[in-house]
């Protein structure tokens, strides 16, 4: 009657083949999960595609427009046409070529700014958050110093040293980066301050890991998310700052050009020759918009704020 003896096998086995985690779902590595969420974010994906198109066009530049940036065509002051997609300027330059060239420079400067500011800011934040104490106080005072100074003014002051000097784009990039690293330093410091109290850090230390190892292999990878998001958004912000500088006359100097310069130069002609002003501006805005959407999509993919269900 009592056939309820335990099955001869003993312990019921989990289905072989699948890697099942506690919830019976396939365990996904965190980065794969983030990528999957990002891909499902339609707006972010669309922006990424548009951004890639814009950037490719900008970097292909003259190969697609068949004009050279310094080529003077006989058509001056022409509105957009099939011959000149973005029209021409006062002396016959093809605007589309100029815009693409400007975009190249703007993007390059912005990428440099983001790279420099991110590395510097993350380093400062990491050191301050990990070592705390005197080092933290000193670093944070310096950060506060930079934050307190009205950045636009100092940017202008610094940029004025390189005003009008040809080839100054690198200097401009450095100047902008000098005032862009502070927010990230604070964020990384905050993350390190809380992460370092976690058990896995204690465990690593108990195993004899050195400080640099703990920072590089444990704390930093866990802080990667806000760093990446921040860096992405910084690219857009840098483009906008460079534009502001160029408008005030302190930006990238000829013979180089940037989107900011183009828009600045065109702003006086906004009524008479609107294509010289609106079109470079729209190109710039579109690039920044796409970068911002991608950055926001990344932020959502890394930390989705859906309502959690608690059973």
């Amino acid at each position: 009657m009592a056939d309820l003896a335990p099955a001869p096998v003993g312990v019921p086995e989990l289905p072989v083949g699948d890697q099942l985690d506690e919830f019976g779902a396939e365990a996904e590595s965190q980065s794969r999960r983030i990528v999957r969420r990002f891909v499902h974010h339609r707006l972010a994906m669309a922006s990424l595609v548009v951004l890639l198109v814009l950037m490719t066009a900008s970097f292909l530049g003259e190969t697609i427009t068949s004009y050279r940036y310094d080529e003077l065509t006989p058509d001056t002051n022409q509105p957009p046409s099939s011959k000149h997609w973005f029209g021409t300027d006062f002396i016959g330059h093809d605007m589309f070529t100029l815009v693409l060239r400007g975009a190249r420079r703007s993007i390059l400067v912005a990428l440099i700014v983001a790279a420099l500011a991110t590395s510097f800011g993350a380093t400062v934040g990491a050191l301050a958050g990990y070592y705390r104490g005197l080092l933290d106080t000193v670093l944070m005072r310096v950060t506060d110093l930079f934050l307190t100074i009205p950045s636009l003014a100092v940017l202008l002051v610094l940029a004025s040293r390189y005003r009008g000097q040809s080839g100054n784009w690198m200097a401009i990039a450095l100047v902008i980066a000098a005032f862009a690293w502070m927010p990230l330093a604070r964020v990384v410091r905050g993350m390190f301050l809380s992460l370092r109290e976690r058990e896995f850090v204690e465990a690593a230390r108990a195993l004899g890991a050195s400080d640099s190892r703990i920072i590089l292999r444990h704390l930093l990878p866990n802080s990667l998310a806000p760093i990446i998001v921040n860096a992405t958004l910084l690219v857009a912000a840098a483009i906008l700052i460079e534009t502001a500088l160029s408008f005030l006359g302190f930006g990238i100097a000829p013979p180089d050009t940037s989107l900011g310069r183009l828009v600045a130069e065109g702003s006086n002609a906004s009524y008479t020759r609107p294509w010289m002003f609106y079109l470079p501006g729209l190109w710039l805005m579109l690039i920044c918009l796409c970068i911002n959407f991608v950055g926001d999509g990344l932020r959502d993919a890394i930390d989705p704020r859906d309502a959690r269900v608690r059973a």
């Binding site: 009592a2 019921p12 919830f23 019976g24 269900v309 059973a311």
Partner: protein, 346 residues
């Protein structure tokens, strides 16, 4: 399933009408990956002044069940079934009407008292708010009552404390304050969702004590949600064991704990370390892991982990049915055979 059980009624008002009757409650959440079946056809009753424990692991649906009763689930949840408070159907009532029950007839306290109290208002003000929402009294009168309540739950210097903010209280005191807030309007049912989980073990006993005292002060029933069997054994009259959104066993605490009639309950009891164990015995965990609520197993939800599993278990969902004792029910096809085996927790 609501077949009547033979035998005398449960403790508390013997022939009194049950205060809360839940029938066939189902809760589904809409998620991007598909519907999650958090609660699947749960039924139980709570009698006046009784203490009912709901036991289960994370993901069993125990919290969601009571949140559904209170109508506190987000919009992504679809709730079906019946919830009757003193005979009146409250499931599906519009918020405006349900509000009259919440905090007055049905009160609920939650797991983490730190995040459950608003950090920018004083504790006294928050208790007073609970009073004023349901009673037309002056603020000063409500504050006085709040101080009385804080005193009732054993907070020293109640008058001074009432003017302090939650972050100035210790964890145990915060939970006491939450309890005070919940009994402010003499509720008929006090639902405590894992009230001691976030607290130190030493404080746990105190809080359970406070809970009992509060219950007696306002003559309410208690529904105690927990994963801790010890808590249930000490405090509850009846217990319901939940697994994967279903009730798998119900009955008097003594019956269920001494004579479990479901393999899961058996497993839970066996995995507890016992003070009276002879020699050095290994702990017996339940193998495997809780199932996905997105794609629950076919048939009995426990069958992948059950050591008594048979063919029918993976095909037919067992119904919760009467298996003996004083209203003990089990959702296992072979509950009688468990009894016959006289399997008891070793």
């Amino acid at each position: 399933m609501s077949g009547e059980a033979p035998g005398p009624g449960p403790s508390g008002g013997a022939s009194a009408e049950p205060v809360l009757v839940v029938e066939d409650l189902t809760v589904d959440f809409a998620t991007p990956d598909g519907p999650v079946h958090a609660v699947r056809g749960v039924s139980f009753t709570v009698d006046a002044e009784a203490v009912v424990g709901i036991v289960g692991e994370s993901g069993s649906g125990k919290s969601v069940t009571m949140m559904a009763v209170m109508g506190l689930l987000p919009r992504t949840a679809t709730v079906k079934g019946s919830v009757r408070f003193r005979g009146e159907e409250i499931l599906g009532l519009p918020d405006k009407q349900l509000r009259r029950y919440r905090g007055r007839k049905l009160a609920m306290i939650f797991q983490d008292p730190l995040t459950s109290l608003n950090p920018v208002f004083t504790v006294g003000a928050q208790i007073a708010e609970a009073i004023r929402v349901h009673n037309d009294v002056k603020r000063s009168a409500a504050m006085e009552r709040a101080v009385e309540l804080l005193d009732l739950v054993g907070i020293p210097n109640a008058a001074k404390r009432a003017r302090q903010y939650p972050h100035e209280f210790s964890g145990g005191m915060r939970q006491r304050a939450m309890i005070a807030m919940s009994i402010a309007n003499d509720p008929d049912v006090l639902i405590a969702d894992e009230p001691t989980t976030a607290l130190d073990v030493t404080i746990q006993a105190q809080i359970l004590d406070v809970l009992e005292r509060a219950q007696q002060a306002v003559s309410s029933a208690i529904v105690l949600i927990t994963h801790d069997l010890g808590v249930v054994a000490g405090v509850a009259d009846r217990v319901m064991v939940m697994y994967a959104g279903r009730a798998v066993e119900q009955g008097l605490v003594d019956d269920v704990f001494l004579r479990p009639r479901h393999p899961y309950t058996l497993g839970l009891l066996e995995s507890l370390p016992r003070l009276d164990a002879e020699g050095q015995e290994r702990l017996t965990p339940i193998v495997g892991a809780p199932p996905s609520l997105l794609h629950p197993p076919t048939g009995c939800p426990f069958h992948p982990r059950c050591r008594f599993v048979r063919e029918m278990c993976s095909e037919v969902i067992p119904e919760l049915r009467f298996v003996g004792g004083l209203g003990q029910r089990s959702a296992c096809h072979y509950a009688e055979e468990l009894e016959a085996l006289e399997v008891e927790p070793t």
